[in-house]
Symmetry: C2
Subunit: 335 residues, 2 copies
Amino acid sequence: MALAVAAGERVRGTTSPNPPVGCVILDADGELVGEGATRPPGGAHAEVVALAQAGERARGGTAVVTLEPCAHHGRTPPCTRALLDAGLARVVHAVSDPNPQAAGGGDVLRAAGVHVESGLLAEEVERGTLRAWLHYARTGRPHVTWKYAATLDGRVAAADGTSRWISSEESRAEVHELRTKIDAIMVGTGTVRTDDPSLTARATRSGQDVTRQPLRVVVGMGDLPRGARVLDDEAETMHLRTHDPDVVLGALAARGVVDVLLEGGPTLAGAFAGARRIDRVLAYLAPKFLGDGPSALRDAGVSTVTGAVALVVEQVSMCGPDVRVSAVMPSGAAR
Amino acid sequence: MALAVAAGERVRGTTSPNPPVGCVILDADGELVGEGATRPPGGAHAEVVALAQAGERARGGTAVVTLEPCAHHGRTPPCTRALLDAGLARVVHAVSDPNPQAAGGGDVLRAAGVHVESGLLAEEVERGTLRAWLHYARTGRPHVTWKYAATLDGRVAAADGTSRWISSEESRAEVHELRTKIDAIMVGTGTVRTDDPSLTARATRSGQDVTRQPLRVVVGMGDLPRGARVLDDEAETMHLRTHDPDVVLGALAARGVVDVLLEGGPTLAGAFAGARRIDRVLAYLAPKFLGDGPSALRDAGVSTVTGAVALVVEQVSMCGPDVRVSAVMPSGAAR
């Protein structure tokens, strides 16, 4: 299953609106004979890729897959069919498919005499490779990660507006790596006017070229300045003239966007936090203090301490000299 | 040495202006025959306490002590004399004494034919039990730990001024435990007016009674409100009518205060941060967002990002649901 998870992780950011699933095939003797991951939309699912590699050696073997195999005919035939045709004896999957259209694959396989197990490394997959897609499948809304870099006193810029750089080189490199794994990057019009970011993923730490750029999304009523970097040809850009997070998420879902990185600024983040439409927060906190300047979040509609937007810390660790905090909305908190 | 460190830690907060030293004595066969820690000022030093317990069994044995034994005659005779009188063959200490008056104990012992080693667990002692005292011995200033509890967006209260409770019960209990280990708690007059805190250490998690209260220090020009809790009989209170951190630290050093806990508010913390008189920051960050309300730090005299007060993270961990960050001023940063 760890191999299947890794295979899925490698294609994260290239499969939406389909899930980045990973699959390995073991033959009847337990030897690895195939490995695959979801191809870009319209292409083969992970099971089919892995089965093609395994060929006849799959017969009597085991498929290990991060998500319950689909039982429906979408742009590709159901994976359950492919698994049955290949003559597999056993299917082990991490998480069940919450999508009512595609679900029930386990039952279909069982009815056909295949031994089906579920739950292996389920938590790792739920929190990792399939987190965004599972959220999207369950709620119909793209998964929103709010990423910000601030000082320990919560400032995202100094009194004079300077913000380069609050966080370390290591943290900034990690964010570029993250951008290669998501579908869309979102900022407010204020950030475009103030910082003129290009919002593209640049060379990764591993030195690999970035072959695919996420969609750039700018939210707000104001016009974008002529010549703004987000209007260049490096990636596609969508300007949504609204302040309503649900309107934004609806428009993105309609485009097949599953995984969104909200990169600010404080006003847009405040609107999303206030609407409880931030599913995860990824904070890079530099061990610095400014004592003045804008805070990471503004206008979240909270006036008293008991009304705070409350999350649960999932992981805390170091990224170079900075503290990295990953916190998630407790399940059931979103309306 | 780990036993000696633990013995010193147990008396932390009761020995100032003397260091909370721990000592164990092993006999010639390496068996533990004595253990001791610094008694309150005027009382015996750790070595003398441990030697008294060991008695004649110390002869030919080893003293393991967190700090180089003193060679000077203060309120008590030099520890080097006591060690020589007891006939010890070997002395192992963690850190050397930076105090010019008391230093040289190692040389005195060596000249008398004792085998002396230093450096064992030195870093642990430097960062732990003896951190504050070593800072005080080297700079003449009390060591300042700024403790604050804030949301991840750096707020210490909501827009309506409510702040109970930003941090978790676990974090608050830990702070009470911390208060039993320091010499003085410091706040600004603004905090006294706004929160009316009692600034006492209450029952600890271990259920032990608190036998000693730290000095309460209020800094600022304004008068304290009649009936303020800091004026009750629970502990002594000192009101310093100044805004200058160095005047405050001078007054505290003159009273033998070695280890100070700065508990806010944002203006006082800003004055200390701006003067680079915060030696350590202990932040309890609750995974909550307010988007409004006062930030943890104000007016630190920083206007641009490159002028930020920069620290180094020493430890990051969880305290209940909160993130606990301990960061220290890089050596040489204080003027």
